[in-house]
């Protein structure tokens, strides 16, 4: 079921976070990330937040300078994935306090840890913010 990748790419096309649930090599990733960002940049805010790509779909959402892009199989509920992106942002917000692109850049591994709690095997596995953040908070305290 599901999610093929989660990307955070800014509008200059620079990748700030990339998590692939189906393996792609460096060349393939670069090509994919470039293609998709271009597609999403060509759309305006009145159009759908979903875009067909190859034989799957990309659900995207823009927050200031950063695009969140989630590649999903055709059976996924696109609107739910759109809200999952927002849930991810709300979770990061709770941890970083008003999260911005710079937070993700300076704390890349933390952002990844959060995503690791939320998505496993390409499926959404945890959606309670407290359950997502507590292992990370405990880890910070222990260290």
């Amino acid at each position: 079921m599901g999610i093929r990748f989660v990307l955070m790419v800014n509008k200059q096309g620079q990748t700030r976070l990339a998590q692939y649930y189906e393996y792609l090599n460096l060349e393939e990733r670069r090509a994919l990330e470039g293609e998709i960002v271009r597609k999403c940049l060509a759309r305006n805010e009145h159009q759908c937040s979903f875009v067909e790509h190859r034989n799957y779909k990309v659900v995207y959402r823009r927050y200031a300078s950063l695009f969140f892009l989630v590649g999903v199989d055709n059976e996924e509920n696109e609107l739910a994935i759109l809200e999952f992106i927002h849930l991810l942002v709300e979770t990061m917000d709770r941890h970083f306090g008003n999260v911005c692109e710079l937070d993700i850049m300076f704390h890349l591994e933390k952002a990844h840890f959060m995503l690791e709690e939320m998505v496993m095997n390409g499926c959404i596995v945890e959606t309670s913010k407290s359950s997502i953040l507590s292992p990370i908070q405990l880890m910070e305290k222990a260290s």
Binding site: C48, E52, T127, A142
Partner: protein, 560 residues
């Protein structure tokens, strides 16, 4: 304002000390963030690679420094450059006792390496050890790694321990153990066929997180073997009821909806179980109706659940009240200003069409609006709907639109798809042979290279053998109109070669009138190699058809 925020953050970080980032790291991030061109970014990254190469090869680097270097390596690859020189350090870091370092090591390995990479074998031991740790957070880190790195070969090395962890006292461990088992099922279903009952058990776990996670493997299992899980319909309905009645902890609420993502998963599962099964469907009607009634159409997530309900209703055995409720919801979606909702409305409409065909007519205007919308995604979805709505009474209008749309498409993969759809609809619903030939010609003209050559051959055969019209005059009239249109098309400068071949074949067939049967035989025997056929034709036919010799030679010269 943005700058102040940045400076503030830098100051805060500078004061962290210990494993806070170094100035070097901050500088790197700042410079990456400020680059104005790919070339500039590449220069920075290449310089960083050199730095990291020398740092990583020097001995006695403090561990927290190593962690920072690993993260910088992650950046290198994220920005498109190879960092394989550093992979081994990621592997080494997974051995560390410190939880943060260990987890960073695992993260780096999962981002760098594919499950089939040679280095994975070095990590399996570490994973095995960590799965047995007293510290449940270490166990969790190992389970995360299992879900990314274990493949069919390494499953036996960790399977027994994972099964034991399904009963761990910590709910987060149980949840991740379920997902690890799911991973094993995905990679090698046979490896866990004797353990399926564990998924059923975890469905009843006290912790909602574990229950929610179990829905993922159960969905996959039910997709493959729906009959073995019909006994769970009641359980799933009950769980969905509890969730919808807000009996889960508040922490699973999202925008005032109770555990919406879990609700959606349950609805998808119930769609599978109720599909084509009246008895199972009857057990599901009530809860779906309740959720539709209570749905919140003012929020995205509320609409997402509503949409999922409609999808469920369209899979279940038809229930008039539910279908009516679904149709109402679709109306609201289509009338909305939001393109996302219009998109879902069109999608839902195409699901309901097979059950209630009249529903398409009710929303004709809205559908046409979507067809003419400049939003590609919406247009594309609407064409999918049109394809499902086609019947003999509307095929001409629809295929006409589709062909115009097909002409505008640049992506050849998608163009092929639409071309095939046009052909399919034309073959299935053509109101007249005349229309059929014209339509097929248009498709060939604009997408001839992309359409399966079998289609071209079928068309030619149809024209050659006649359409079975009783009236010979009608038959030959059809042929001559076909010939006329092909002659015209051949005059155009740029033509796909496959189509050109088809045209000439048809002309060969038709021009010879009485001898078309003869020609058809030649065509059949040489259909594989055009070059051969031309030569044969040139040699043999002038003897058979002296009257038409000139025409023949002209034609053949044109194609070779």
């Amino acid at each position: 304002m943005e700058q102040l925020k940045t400076i503030g953050r830098e100051l805060a970080m500078g004061s962290q000390g210990g494993f806070g980032q170094s100035k070097e790291f901050l500088d790197l991030i700042k410079s990456i963030g400020e680059t104005r061109s790919k070339a500039e970014e590449d220069r920075i990254v290449l310089r960083e690679i050199e730095t990291l190469k020398s740092r990583l090869s020097s001995p006695n680097t403090p561990k927290f420094k190593l962690k920072e270097y690993l993260i910088r390596l992650l950046y290198v690859e994220m920005l498109g450059h190879d960092a394989s020189f550093g992979y081994i350090h990621a592997v080494k870091m997974t051995h560390d006792e410190n939880l943060l370092l260990k987890r960073t090591g695992y993260l780096a390995v999962t981002l760098f390496l594919n499950e089939d990479h040679d280095l994975i074998i070095l990590i399996v031991n570490t994973i095995q050890k960590d799965l047995k740790s007293d510290n449940y957070l270490v166990v969790c880190a190992a389970l995360n790694a299992v879900c990314r790195l274990i493949n069919e070969e390494t499953i036996p090395a960790v399977l027994p321990q994972v099964v034991e962890l399904l009963g761990h006292q910590k709910e987060t461990v149980r949840k991740k153990a379920v997902m690890a088992l799911h991973r094993f099922y995905q990679r090698a279903p046979g490896s866990v066929s004797h353990l399926i009952s564990n998924f059923r058990k975890r469905l009843c776990d006290n912790d909602p997180g574990v229950m929610g996670a179990t829905l993922c493997p159960l969905f996959d299992l039910i997709m493959t073997d729906v009959d073995s899980y019909k006994d769970l319909v009641i359980s799933f309905v009950n769980i969905l009821k509890q969730v919808a009645e807000r009996r889960l902890p508040k922490s699973y609420d999202y925008h005032q909806m109770p555990a919406p993502f879990v609700q959606i998963k349950l609805l998808k599962i119930l769609s599978l179980l109720g599909s084509g099964d009246k008895k199972a469907s009857e057990q599901i009607y009530t809860i779906v109706g309740d959720i539709i009634r209570k749905s919140d159409s003012t929020s995205n997530i509320g609409n997402a659940i509503l949409y999922e309900c409609i999808c469920c209703v369209s899979s279940l055995h038809p229930n008039p009240k539910l279908l009516e409720a679904a149709a109402d919801a679709i109306s609201k979606f289509l009338k909305s200003d939001s393109h996302n909702l219009k998109y879902l409305g069109i999608d839902a409409l195409s699901r309901l069409i097979k059950i209630s065909p009249e529903i398409a007519e009710q929303h004709q205007l809205a559908v046409i609006d979507c067809l003419e919308d400049p939003d590609d995604t919406l247009k594309r979805k609407t064409f999918e709907l049109l394809y499902k709505m086609t019947k003999s009474s509307n095929v001409e209008v629809i295929v006409d639109r589709m062909i115009n749309y097909m002409i505008s498409i640049n992506d050849s993969h998608y163009k092929t798809e639409i071309a095939s759809r046009c052909v399919e609809l034309a073959e299935q619903f053509a109101p007249s042979n005349q229309w059929f030939i014209q339509t097929m010609n248009k498709v060939f003209e604009h997408a001839g290279d992309l359409v399966n050559s079998k289609v071209a051959h079928n068309l030619m055969r149809l024209i050659a053998e006649g359409f079975g019209e009783d009236d010979d005059a009608v038959d030959s009239q059809l042929r001559s109109s076909a010939v006329e249109s092909y002659l015209q098309i051949m005059g155009e400068p740029k033509l796909p070669s496959a189509f050109l071949q088809s045209c000439i074949l048809v002309l060969c067939v038709c021009v010879c009138g009485l001898f078309n049967f003869f020609i058809y035989l030649f065509y059949r025997s040489f259909v594989g190699s055009w070059g051969n056929m031309g030569l044969q034709m040139e040699n043999i036919l002038p003897h058979i058809l002296p009257g038409n010799c000139v025409t023949w030679q002209r034609l053949i010269r044109q194609m070779t």
